[in-house]
């Protein structure tokens, strides 16, 4: 079988270019088919796997599909988590993921709503999907996913193919397939089986096609008018919203069942379900994913340090830095349920063997992490003194008060800082061996005498200079070039000393809590929310009323009706265009 896969750019309207070989794409016009999903009497929490599969295998009428109002591409972690939850952790996901472009000053979650997939990117998804499909239907695994046996394993068996593919498709697409969609994949399997002489090759090909369908790669948000005539997300879209927001994964059978019963458009039932999910230990995955987005963790992939200047920095350290930050965040906000502002002041963290030399602390565990609390007289307190933050916002061979100050303004206070002009001379700042200007503070003061530079540096440097007690990889220091480091700073009219003082100042600022509240709303809805002042104010006010408890913030955003209302111009894609596939001679 020749292997030639044509990639496609998925744009608004979602035209998928012809994909040859094992992705035989068929054109099957959608037909109105009666909705035959069974509604049994058991509660969602009693949902056994057989019932779950039956629900997922139910046939959805195209009339049940609302108008598409949003398409949000799965992130890599969402993709991996979804596959693990649908097929089990035994199925490997191997391949490279085309990154989602982050819009300036916004989240990747927002970028996902505008994200296309390049031809090369689609080839990657194709390869990943075929790898998954080949494992699911290999001899070792197939009995786990398919109960029926084909009458003749060398010939097509439509009934068995449908029994195998329909429930899997329902779980992958996060809603039952329509009859036409089921027919299309069954036909795909039939054609492939006829060519290859192997029933399991056929279903494997059909599954591979599902895994490059926009219905899987994108979270398709559909809306329908509510009683007041406003467009609001439908039940299945709400199931996806809840699951990816709170657990960073695909809806589980219980949530899909709740959607099938229409429970997610009932505010009281939606709240009960959201509370269950927020009480789960799986919330940690959602919190980690949120902060990885909010704090630009993708930049950790690019961190490199000069080994002569920073010999303590190595791949193990690089790998540990983001994990330490996330552990500290999860411990503070999820495990202990502390006030969000404590993220800036807590002395509690985790260290492993790799980070011991960075922090100059002994580590008992040979593998794994030890909890650790910095002494009260240490300048380490809160997120800003974690080596990960300090290293990320430094240069390869020196610290950077400006980068650190800018990161604090933009990421934690939601205050964008303009880019420097293209013709700036950084020579003074970069000359770390200058014995006249021995510290960064002195070098920046000299640089900022230029009025073009001063206006932005006034925004960033008074904050960033207080972190100069830590070098470019976060190691504590008192001097630079034998000169004492001055860690005085000022923020919103208050003076303070060092990282601990800065943390307290940020904790006291309303901007820090308003910023995370708006980011959470943006993360949940997948759109910029700057213009939605009323909703933002409500969320911020509610966060304060909840004493800045992060679980409460997530619950509020997950359940507020306004977050499910759809405004703006929806994409031109329709469910028909997502499902319509071009048949060019079937499988090759």
């Amino acid at each position: 079988m020749s292997i030639r896969t044509a990639g496609a750019a998925i744009r608004n309207g979602l035209r998928v270019r012809r994909v040859q070989h094992s992705l035989a794409i068929l054109a099957v016009p959608l037909a109105a088919i009666g909705f035959v999903a069974a509604h049994s009497a058991e509660s969602a929490s009693d949902l056994g796997p057989k019932t779950a599969r039956a629900r997922a295998a139910a046939v959805l009428s195209p009339a049940q599909l609302g108008q598409i109002t949003g398409l949000r591409r799965l992130t890599e972690s969402q993709y991996r988590n979804s596959i693990a939850d649908v097929f089990g952790p035994d199925i490997s996901v191997v391949g490279r993921f085309e990154p989602i472009v982050r819009p300036k000053h916004q989240l990747i979650a927002t970028g996902a709503g505008e994200s296309t997939i390049s031809p090369a990117g689609l080839e990657q998804f194709d390869a990943i999907g075929r790898g998954i499909a080949s494992q699911v239907f290999d001899a070792a695994h197939r009995d786990t996913f398919v109960k029926c046996k084909p009458a003749d394993a060398t010939k097509p068996d439509d009934a068995c193919a449908r029994e195998a593919l329909a429930p899997i498709g329902g779980l992958l697409f996060r809603r039952p397939l329509t009859g036409a969609e089921q027919d299309a994949y069954v036909q795909m399997a039939r054609v492939a089986t006829a060519k290859s002489g192997d029933f399991y090759d056929g279903v494997q090909l059909a599954l591979g096609a599902m895994l490059v369908s926009p219905n899987f790669l994108y979270i398709v948000e559909s809306a329908a008018p509510d009683a007041q005539g406003n467009l609001t997300l439908d039940d299945y879209s709400r199931a996806s919203r809840l699951s990816y927001l709170l657990w960073d994964t695909t809806p589980d059978p219980a949530l899909l069942d709740a959607a099938a019963r229409g429970q997610l458009t009932d505010p009281a039932k939606l709240a009960a379900i959201a509370k269950r999910m927020i009480a789960s230990p799986r919330l940690e995955a959602g919190v980690r994913a949120f902060f990885a987005d909010m704090l630009l963790f993708e930049k950790f992939d690019e961190v490199s340090k000069d080994p002569i200047v920073y010999p303590r920095f190595n791949p193990d350290v690089a790998k540990a830095l983001p994990e330490q930050m996330l552990r500290m965040i999860a411990d503070t906000l999820v495990t202990r349920g502390a006030d969000y502002r404590e993220l800036f002041t807590t002395r509690r963290t985790y260290v492993n063997r790799a980070l011991g030399p960075i922090y100059n602390v002994p580590v008992q565990s040979r593998k794994g992490w030890d909890s650790y609390e910095f002494p009260a007289d240490s300048d380490r307190a809160g997120l800003l003194s974690q080596a990960g933050f300090l290293a990320l916002y430094s240069h390869s061979g020196r610290s950077s008060p400006t980068l650190r100050g800018r990161a604090i303004r933009e990421l934690l206070l939601c205050q964008p800082v303009p880019d420097p002009p293209g013709n700036v001379n950084f020579a003074v700042v970069q000359d770390t061996n200058n014995m006249e200007l021995r510290t960064a503070r002195l070098r920046l003061s000299a640089h900022a005498t230029d009025p073009v530079c001063a206006s932005c540096h006034r925004i960033t440097d008074p904050i960033g200079l207080t972190l100069e007690g830590f070098d470019g990889i976060g190691v504590y220091r008192k001097q630079e070039n034998t000169a004492d480091i001055d860690v005085k700073g000022s923020f919103e009219g208050s003076d303070y000393l060092g990282a601990a003082g800065l943390g307290k100042a940020l904790a006291a600022s309303p901007s820090s809590t308003e910023c995370v509240a708006s980011r959470m709303l943006e993360y949940a809805t997948g759109r910029a929310v700057d213009s939605e002042a009323t909703m933002l104010a409500e969320v911020a006010k509610g966060f304060a009323a909840d004493q800045y408890r992060f679980r409460a913030l997530m619950l509020r955003v997950a359940t507020m009706p306004e977050a499910y209302r759809v405004g703006g111009k929806p994409p031109t894609a329709s469910h028909a265009s997502l499902s319509a596939q071009t048949r060019k001679g079937g499988a090759r």
Binding site: S45, P49, R53, D85, D90, T144, V146, D252, R282
Partner: protein
């Protein structure tokens, strides 16, 4: 001390349901540990196995324990190329001789011994300890080169999730995940650790079913939720837990 823990040839694979049921299968020792059952599959005629304190040991036709000689260690003491055992040794240890036309079977093969063709288990020549009676194991560990030849039952065929495999532990098989960590069930909340996760698309297989634990889909074995051991020794299970067996 040489312990041969290798599984018997796959030719002898058959499904094992539970330990006592093994007694009912052909060629396996009965409940009476003195009963010697000869089975031609997987080991030479005249050789059998008997239940030991832990696991099973090979015995000859008279029920005397068979011992494997650490050949490498023995050769290094006696000089490479020199047959072992001769002189005073042969007053203590009797070789398990093989017929001239003997063919290899399972992990048993024929090697040249001091008195002619001799059975070896793996690469280790096999002997009996002359001074002892059937049922005894006084020869175990002598000079650190003699050890009881351990019989390892055939690997059972498992009908379960793809990642589940049997691992041989202390004379019996336990079920483990792909990484070799023992799987267990428990009534103790304290012992309930890392759940053995399934996918939402997973169906039951054999005695295995899938159910939601409220957070994940989890495998169950005979209706009980399954967990993965995180003990220092992966094949151990925590206190209060019951290791899953085939």
């Amino acid at each position: 001390m040489v312990r041969n823990l290798a599984a018997i040839s796959a030719v002898a694979l058959f499904a094992l349901v539970a330990g006592p049921a093994m007694a009912q299968a052909q060629g396996r020792p009965g409940q009476d540990s003195r009963e010697v059952v000869v089975n031609p599959d997987g080991y030479p005629e005249g050789v059998a196995f008997r239940k030991a304190k832990v696991g099973f040991r090979y015995v000859d036709a008279s029920g005397k324990t068979l011992y494997a000689l650490n050949s490498f260690e023995a050769r290094s003491r006696g000089g490479f190329g020199r047959p072992f055992c001769i002189g005073p040794c042969e007053q203590v240890w009797a070789p398990l001789t093989a017929p001239a036309d003997a063919k290899p079977v399972g992990r048993w093969k024929v090697m040249p011994g001091a008195k002619g063709p001799q059975w070896a288990y793996g690469n280790n020549l096999v002997f009996t300890y002359i001074a002892e009676q059937p049922g005894e194991t006084r020869g175990d560990g002598i000079e650190d080169i003699w050890s009881v030849a351990e019989y390892v039952p055939p690997v059972p065929q498992i009908a379960g999730p793809a990642g589940v495999k049997p691992v041989y532990v202390e004379g019996g098989y336990r079920l483990a995940n792909g990484a070799g960590h023992a799987l267990y069930s428990t009534k103790s909340r304290k012992a309930a650790g890392t759940p053995y996760l399934a996918g939402a698309a997973s169906l039951g297989v054999g005695d295995w079913t899938v159910a939601s634990n409220g957070n994940h889909m989890q495998w169950q074995y005979h209706g009980k939720p399954v967990f993965i051991s995180q003990e220092e020794k992966p094949t151990d299970v925590p206190a209060g837990a019951i290791a899953l067996v085939p």
